[in-house]
Amino acid sequence: MTNKQYDYIIVGSGIAGAILANELGKQGKEVLIIEAGPGISQGRNEYLKTYFEANMKTPCSPYPPLITKNNNPDTPSNPSRQNTPRPTIPGVINWSDPSKSYLTYDTKTSRAFASGYERIGGGTTWHWLGTSLRFLENDFTMQSTYGVEVNWPITYNDLVSYYARAEEGIGVAGNIESQEAYGVKFPKGYEYPMPAVKLSMVDNMFSSGLAGMPPVDKAPVFVSSTPQGRLTQIRQSEKRPQCAGNTSCIPICPIQAKYDATITLKEALQYETVEIIYQTVVTSVEIDQTTQEISAVNYIQYEEKNGPATGSGSFSATNYILAAHAIEIPKILLNSPNPGITINSKLDDANVEKCAANSSGLVGANLMDHTMYLAWGLSDKQVFPFRGPLSTAGIESMRDGEFRKERAAYRIEIGNEGWNWATGDPQNTLGDLIFGTNYTQMNPKKEKFFGAAMVDKLNDIYTRQIRLGFLIEQSPCPDNRVTLSKTETDNLGIPRPRIQYTLSDYTKNGFLSAKKTASAIFKQIGATEYTVAPPSTTNPAQNGTYFQYKNEDFVFYGAGHVVGTTTMGNDPTTSVLNSDLQSWNHANLYIIGSSVFPTITTANPTLTIAALTYRLADHLLKKAKA
């Protein structure tokens, strides 16, 4: 394996790496996938057992390296002693402590980055929700349409056929009419691969309750079914079942009804010419100083989960594609010195790091997330949440409009899981009623309950819990950056990321609107709102994600959408990649994944990641023929 010259080396085995390897393998190309984490576990038993046992059932809870011990639920393991550390929710809570948070900060200037990802075979799709929305046309032209943010170097029309391939590849269940109703454009006669997921009672309650609601900033407010990557029918070619509503999509679908990249990865590995190597961490790329072509990727290997390095070396290929997600990719590039690079940047030359792919000085810049506003309440009638997939519908009708000149747009996710995310229910309300506390506001008199009276009260509360999640568009800002820590490393000696991250006023205006809209919605449907605005000092867990804006207190949550650190564009001084996703500096280096997005828009990124990957595959194969 070491001496072979591959056609393509792909770093990362998440959805982008898997789709790309599959498309290239189909055409007989020699591909090596390099994955930092462990291989695909047998069945999903190991992950499921860890998940069921976990006390904090966060998105990362089933996956290695484990961050909690059962006897000490609040102490994540030290990222310095892990071989594939990554950001986690306990890491966000303890953001200022590098022995608990993988990401490091100057806490005086930065907020906490609130999202994480996984470094394992199959990547973060193990714990994605499955939401597969297309972008809207205007999402690609924010600068020319609204005078804010930047334009993409491609349009919606450039991606239309690739969205179809992505929907087929993932197996998206959806309904065309519900998407067209708020402005998505499809080719005539197009159908989703399978019928939309059945709406929940919670969805139906919102849908009928919102009838007659006045528009907000001229945008109508109505419910749309969410196209999602989970099976409503079975596919002969895949050996996985129809969704059974396990209500644990995040962090893990117990039956693999929800798509995850191991499906495509396994397909790819059936080709003789596709190889994969696990537990191999790419640390940097080697750049030929004469040609500025990438000549190799350097790696460190390990055998024991968090044991010592057991080997190192490099692999070579004709072309290299980084698909390691939006924080690990800039980490690799920033760790690859390139004295021969010609700076071509709008920034002060002195501030531009001479490393791989960085003529623009923007490697690691424009880090974005969907910063989320959560609102929750009790419906006036029983709607029986905690059933079905975590979300089956949303309000998509507010994602676009003139208001985007002034404030960030958002989509609204309707949660089927009661107050699980919002307040840590069911155990928090249960604890309140049993122990006489009042953390969830359900026990204002701090009484202690038991027996039949407790059953009635619990049932009454749980069966009416509803929550909304506003995915607010974070605008790109070059100062929001991933750089390398000068002091912290992981167990293999690789520098850990240092993050500078704040929210713009544009995004904060989005929060103001979200708060108002949430209250208006609850009022319209006859629900009682219980959203709590936290004072900054109350809960240290929310310290890094707290902000105050125009006299309002907010906490932002992360949607798990890590975006923007190696953006594509038409201008090499303001982007890292051209519209073919090729580095401006290295002809044989490509990047794929959410790091290439110039803006985050209001849709979950995965479908667009997949679409861009199919497009990149086409481009690479065409280039190879020429």
């Binding site: 046992e53 006390n55 709406l199 209500t247 029986f384 905690f386 122990f435 506390t437 953390y439 038991f450």
Partner: protein, 151 residues
């Protein structure tokens, strides 16, 4: 079932408000009463026995299980243990009450699946559906079907 486990089941039914038939069915795939009895004995080596004896004494004196529990809950020694047992049946693990809310320390993956809290909300444990596609679009069975008809 030993007499102390029988006492434990009667106490648990009155504490949780869930029928004995649900907590301790004759035909079952997991003997919860024994599992939880053993766990409680381990966690509260002295107080658990005292609680059971006190409860049984009240029953023997003619009180109903509900009245006996009400009395127990007014006792500062027994109440905390009883509360934890109540929580244990509901969540499948012990409660850890912090300044910012209650967390669970799961006994095992399987006791998590057997938590009664999911029955009380007429649903299933998150991560373990017992029904098939589409069930979430319709009302579930009535509450009594999940928790039994009380005592």
């Amino acid at each position: 079932m030993t007499t102390s486990i029988q006492t434990f089941v009667t106490l648990s039914a009155a504490l949780t408000g869930i029928s004995k038939n649900v907590l301790a069915p004759t035909v079952t795939n997991l003997d919860l009463p024994t599992t939880y009895f053993d766990a409680a004995k381990q966690k509260f080596p002295a107080d658990f026995d005292l609680l059971l004896s006190a409860f049984q004494a009240l029953i023997d004196s003619g009180k109903s299980a509900e009245d006996a529990v009400a009395t127990i809950m007014e006792n500062d020694t027994y109440a905390p243990v009883a509360q934890q047992i109540n929580f244990l049946w509901y969540m499948g693990g012990w409660a850890v009450v912090t300044d910012f809310g209650t967390q669970t320390q799961n006994l095992s993956a399987i006791t998590y699946q057997k938590g009664m809290v999911w029955q009380v909300m007429q649903s299933h444990p998150m991560g373990y559906s017992v029904s098939r596609y589409g069930y979430w679009g319709q009302e579930p069975a009535p509450l009594n079907d999940y928790i039994g008809n009380g005592e």
